[in-house]
Symmetry: C2
């Protein structure tokens, strides 16, 4: 067998096991009974050690050296580039560290679910501290091999090809401009008919399924839509699973989240099927800034167009009933495009959304640099929210515990959201122009 | 590290990956959207090749030789015995064969679901033929190493320590006695008030959850109860998942199946937790005859006692409503203990149940020996049902396609059911006596 084919065979197996790992994660968040956690953490750890062994297989050096015979087509060449990167990143970190980090991630995330429900940051703090210690150890190891700062070495996993120095420039610009813009938008908003009410979870789930279907997310053939503490999307290879969470007082945020996760799902699903078992066919390997441009493109660009809500309004009226003045396309459109100083990132409007992200980006840089301690996170969060968004959270459940990311070890991810929002806006501008 | 500790560490990883494999199976049957199947088959195959590599690791010979220092306690000694067996069985079969068999199992099972729903044996036949070819190849490979016949080599996986010659003696006896006993039981049954009606699936699910809870199957802490084409139980390590299927015309069979699967679940859950990551802590390694004695003990022994139904009757009356004459403990007890010439194995009474199993046992022995072709299976099934149970199935959906086992590659399993029924009866007799 030629070296490239050897690699392709080897990375097909790695990609399959990564899909299995995705299923373990999905199941843990959506299906697993609570007491499954102890052994689930071990299962993930063992599987990831196996994947790591395969990524650091001694034969890879030889294959990687010989694989490019100058005749690879662009897909194969891109595939080879990703294999090389994955090998390089894997050799940076010991299997033991991977295992310890994975176990702590699962443990912390499980406790975070309870801590957030009970609004008790002290409950999750010890585990979050342990997890950040491991994240820093991991960042240092990557930094040494990749030749960049520890935080950049984390971010490179989600936003390959971009440094935090570049992100700083963009984010500092945005932090300069957006707070004023937010104030002006709030001051000049058109009137709306309130959407107050009690929206039964079953009806919201029905509306969510309807929206997913209309967007083209096929729940009968390749998609699932379930409920979890934090909405997410997970490609398992041949199928794609998204989740929602429902707030009885607010159906719109759940619909927005469904549109967001469906956007991720489309990117997972619509990479060419014949490449689904190779690194180049896995959407996540394109970087999460690009991935978020797809989800935010559906949620924040398409989902904030007048026609979108004019189309949905009569259907939602049927599902939820109540006053007809509420369920006009114009009224829903005004709600969807309404700016506000709000507490929750994923419910935020387009203007304040990047500010929420910038806060997290700055905090996690400090946490990794050691210039902020986990125990000081709630205070730093409150101060940052006041400075950037102009509002102070009343508690940690809607403050520093609102997002799953840090509690599951995903540090360096957040910038991808704001970068994705920018890219989505650029895509949409180009679409409109053409 | 001592050899035993090396082994323990190694087999803990193997056991974890087996749990992951169980999750893949559970998800495939319960959650996965249809188009997930192509890559799911590949995921299972890759994972099983990994497990196989670990079971045939070159270091094992040395460790297994040195592990027994004469000071192992009974748990460790039993654990070592199982490690030795698993290593020996794994070396019998090539990773390539495992992978091909796994892929064909997933493929056949998926098609079987459709074929059974559409009552079309011809739809699944080509895949079932391919699967039996692979099962025979697998049986031959095991037979050569284990020094037994191909069928016995398959059965050894589920009923370790017993030969088909021994099973033949018991089953021939039962096949001699039971048909007459069945006839006599049918002729002398007490009258019942019919349970005809339309039992909504949601209410059956409610009743199933109630029963599971009363039996001690804890759905809030460590258990799940879902719906699948064929009821099954799956221990994922720290949690246990059972499934039911609901027939609107017949709530009792779904309740019986829930009791059955809960029995399996208890055995999974109640092995000592500190051994859950070792072969000796995995209930399935005790053999499926013992496992079925636990499930059939709950379903067919405990579940056919008068007090069981007297306790459930008022609760079921509340859930299903309707005539009060139906919902007396005595009437439900009479239904539960009613004998009949029926088509479906898992709905059968205690007398005809072993006859259903004996039919399958005899047929699968012939299929493996090559003295029966897959294409002749429907005819052979009909003839065998008439001979043993005294009834001929009107179609293959309630005939040779009713069970998942052959369609998912589980050949040699069936005898465990009848052996389990015998053991359950012995346990119950001993319990009553003491």
């Amino acid at each position: 067998m030629q070296a490239y084919d050897q690699l392709s065979h080897h990375f097909s197996a790695i990609t399959s096991l990564r899909q299995v790992d995705s299923l373990l994660d999905w199941d843990r968040s959506v299906m697993m009974p609570p007491e499954g956690i102890t052994l689930r953490a071990r299962q993930s750890a063992v599987l990831n050690v196996k994947i790591h062994e395969m990524l650091t297989d001694a034969r890879l050096n030889d294959w990687l050296e010989k694989a490019d015979d100058g005749k690879l087509d662009p897909w194969r060449a891109a595939n080879l580039r990703l294999m090389r990167e994955q090998h390089r990143e894997a050799t940076a970190v010991s299997p033991d560290l991977i295992a310890r980090k994975m176990a702590q991630e699962a443990q912390t995330e499980m406790i975070w679910r309870r801590a957030r429900a009970e609004n008790d940051f002290a409950m999750v703090r010890p585990d979050l501290e342990k997890l950040f210690d491991l994240v820093c150890e991991y960042a240092d190891a990557r930094a040494a091999v990749l030749g960049m700062s520890p935080y950049d070495a984390l971010m490179a996993h989600y936003v390959p090809g971009m440094t935090s120095a570049e992100v700083d420039v963009l984010f500092d610009d945005l932090a300069q401009v957006l707070p004023d813009m937010l104030g002006r938008a709030i001051d000049s908003q058109p009137e709306v008919v309130a959407l107050d009410g009690d929206f039964a979870v079953e009806r919201q789930h029905q509306a969510a399924r309807l929206l997913a279907g209309k967007l083209g997310f096929d729940l009968s053939r390749w998609g699932r839509l379930d409920v979890s503490a934090h909405p997410f999307s997970m490609g398992i290879g041949g199928d794609v699973r998204i989740t929602a969470r429902y707030d009885r007082r607010d159906f719109m945020s759940s619909l927005m989240a469904v549109a967001h996760e469906a956007g991720h799902g489309f990117f997972d699903r619509h990479t060419p099927a014949s490449w689904h078992d190779q690194p180049v066919g896995v959407s996540g390997n394109m970087g999460m800034a690009i991935h978020e441009s797809q989800s935010l493109g559906v949620e924040m660009q398409m989902g904030r167009m007048r026609g979108y809500w004019e189309h949905l309004a009569p259907e939602l009226a049927k599902i939820f009933g109540g006053s007809s003045a509420v369920w006009t396309g114009e009224n829903l459109y005004r709600h969807a495009t309404r700016a506000a100083r709000s507490l929750i990132r994923f419910e935020a409007d387009e203007i304040s959304y990047p500010l929420h992200v910038i806060l997290r980006y700055r905090l996690e840089k400090h946490l990794v640099a050691g210039t902020l301690a986990v125990r000081d996170l709630p205070d730093a969060w409150r101060a940052g929210m006041q400075e950037l968004v102009g509002i102070t959270p009343p508690d940690d459940a809607v403050g520093c515990m609102q997002d799953i990311h840090w509690h599951s070890g995903a540090v360096g991810y957040f910038p991808a959201y704001a970068l994705g929002a920018v890219i989505a806006a650029q895509f949409t501008a180009a679409l409109k122009r053409d």
